[in-house]
């Protein structure tokens, strides 16, 4: 199993723990990753304000990826959403595809013929590797751990092209947490959006959405909040720090990438999973695995 | 009362009689085949208020009396009256706590109970009512009350 890794923007700069944990986990599971070079932003930020810019940027990345003759894998919900959407648009609209191809050829001398498949890490884990295989490889059962799971919006919605899980109440990440022996807690605000996207536009909403979830999680008591999306991760981690600083409210809910706890279960050391980079330390976990 | 009926001829006739006759309040007996003059007699105890007379009188000489005379029940010979009427009267007598007296109001539009009132002044003695009356409550007397002329 080999994939071309599309790094995206945030992960290589800010979420090195996500990147390194994914690398090591995949190595453990026998998945090879080839870093994609010459990529640019997937275009997702422009999807809402300039369809054409988004599509050209996504198509550029897809064209670059097609050189590798591999399926693309990305760790970011936004990148995956953007690229899958672009793939769908281009495959369904041959006129558009031709137009984009002309543009790419003219400017960058690249071409899009076979558009590669785009996958998220969770797609690879759930679909390509499969729960059973992961279960077999688990060395340390994460017994006695209670995790809250937050999947993120863009990996499941819009279901018209994402087509991965139940779009309203996704559950596949819970399954992946539970096969590690941990408990995935059911909680009321489980499907509430993280609120990252309201930043810079309507900060009040962003903070309020964050607080609602954090308050509940604090009340029910969890060992960590598991995410698979850099945006959600940043919102929850940085947001908590911000609230602690500004409002003196501390929730202290560790935010953990799924690949990090998967790595622990597979017997990889916390150091190799970048736990030292988590700004809110998952004390219970780290104590156990010291 | 039916409007617009003018009895010019009859009035003229009365005028003539007035002129030639002495003022005599006596009653005159008439032959049975004589119309125009004569009077209708009404027996309330026989009346079932079917209103045939009221509906068929060409001059509107009948008025409906929406009152049912309770005391009448005592006077009637039940063996001779109509079957169902007799049953009803009998039942009323049996369940009555008080003495049967006074009048009972009959709701409008309920035929079969109550009585009629004959207005002699309007009557032209055509005998249509008498012929049509199914119960014999109306009868015709072949006598003419001369008072009517001077009234």
């Amino acid at each position: 199993m080999k994939y071309a890794l599309f790094l995206g923007c945030v992960i290589p700069a800010k979420l090195l723990n996500y990147e390194i944990s994914t690398r090591n986990v995949f190595k453990e599971l026998g998945v090879e990753l080839e870093y994609m070079n010459d990529f640019i932003c997937c275009g997702f930020p422009f999807e809402s304000i300039s369809e054409e810019t988004w599509l050209r940027m996504a198509a550029y990345n897809l064209a670059i990826a097609s050189r590798y003759n591999l399926d693309i894998v990305s760790m970011c919900n936004g990148c995956v959403n953007s690229l899958i959407h672009a793939k769908k648009v281009l495959e369904e609209d041959s006129k558009k595809k031709e137009e984009i191809n002309n543009f790419l050829k003219e400017n960058f001398n690249i071409e899009l013929s076979n558009i590669p498949n785009v996958k998220h890490v969770i797609h690879v884990l759930y679909n390509d590797i499969g729960k059973e295989k992961i279960r077999e490889k688990v060395k340390n059962e994460l017994k006695d751990f209670r995790f809250a799971v937050h999947v993120g919006c863009h990996i499941v919605r819009p279901s018209t092209y994402m087509n991965f899980d139940n779009p309203i109440e996704p559950e596949k990440l819970d399954e992946l947490v539970e096969i590690l022996g941990a408990e995935s807690v059911r909680y009321t605000t489980k499907y509430l959006c993280c609120g990252n996207y309201a930043r810079g536009i309507n900060d009040k909403v962003s903070i309020e959405l964050l607080k609602r979830k954090m308050e509940e999680l604090k009340n029910i008591g969890v060992d960590g909040l598991i995410t698979i999306c850099p945006a959600c991760y940043l919102q929850y981690e940085m947001g908590q720090l911000e609230i602690r600083m500004k409002e003196k409210i501390s929730y202290d809910i560790p935010v953990i990438h799924y690949t990090q706890i998967l790595g622990l279960a597979l017997g990889i050391s916390p150091k190799e999973l970048g736990f030292d980079l988590n700004k809110i330390k998952p004390k219970k976990i780290l104590e156990k695995f010291k | 009362m039916k409007e617009g009926v003018k009895l010019n001829n009859l009035e003229k006739l009365f005028e003539c009689i007035k002129k030639i006759a002495k003022r005599n309040p006596e009653k005159i007996l008439l032959p049975n085949t004589f119309f125009i003059f004569g009077s209708v007699k009404y027996d309330e105890s026989k009346c079932i208020a079917c209103l045939t007379c009221y509906e068929n009188c060409p001059l509107g000489a009948y008025d409906v009396e929406r009152k049912f005379d309770l005391s009448m029940i005592k006077k009637i010979d039940l063996s001779k009256t109509y079957w169902k009427r007799a049953i009803i009267y009998q039942l009323i007598m049996e369940i009555a706590v008080k003495d049967l007296e006074g009048y009972v109001e009959v709701p409008e539009g309920l035929p079969g109970y109550g009585s009629v009132k004959h207005n002699e002044d309007l009557c032209i003695s055509c005998r249509k009512c008498v012929d049509l009356c199914p119960t014999g409550a109306l009868s015709f007397e072949c006598e003419f009350d001369m008072k009517k002329i001077w009234r």
């Binding site: 790094l7 304000i49 819009p158 | -």
Partner: protein, 164 residues
């Protein structure tokens, strides 16, 4: 108030905007509307239908959508609500009605570096030397980004003129 009627754009029509029967599922499910009552997607769709796009573009509320796509998923009439908002944003920016700071920040980062490192509120560090050093110590390869490509693409669509 006199209604200013303009043609609803064909693109918006394609996204079933006119099919909205005002059931309110979108507003009911919207995480933003739960907190900020000024934002009401149902109402925006109604105004769009009755008053036309011009009036709606001036509304500050349209920018509050956080693109979670929940409303679109639950809409019984299959109105592509979130995508309608995208069209409104595009139109508002094209007409110069608004230059939203969030997008300006993102645009600047991408325009200059090829990637946006500022997914968190538009304020990110660029892929600086410090980070590259850290990556090296962690044994992670240096990402190769073709900065020019992003610039070229943005210029090709003229977005730099609108947001720059």
């Amino acid at each position: 108030m006199e209604v200013n009627v303009l043609d609803i754009k064909e693109e918006v029509k394609k996204l079933n905007a006119l099919l909205c029967y005002q059931c309110g599922t979108c507003t009911g499910t919207c995480p933003v509307a739960r907190i900020d009552t000024r934002f009401n997607p149902r109402r925006i769709l109604n105004e769009l239908k009755i008053k036309g796009i011009e009036e709606v573009l001036k509304m500050e509320e349209i920018w509050y959508c956080i693109e979670c796509f929940l409303c679109m998923e639950k809409c019984p009439q299959n109105v592509k609500i979130t995508e309608i908002f995208f069209k409104l944003y595009e139109e508002a920016i094209r007409r110069g009605i608004k230059k939203p700071q969030k997008y300006v920040g993102l645009f600047k980062a991408i325009y200059s570096t090829g990637i946006s490192t500022g997914a968190y509120g538009g304020r990110g560090e660029p892929l600086s030397g410090m980070i590259l050093k850290k990556r090296e110590t962690m044994g992670l390869p240096k990402p190769k980004i073709s900065q020019d490509a992003a610039k070229k693409i943005i210029e090709s669509t003229g977005l730099n003129k609108l947001l720059g």
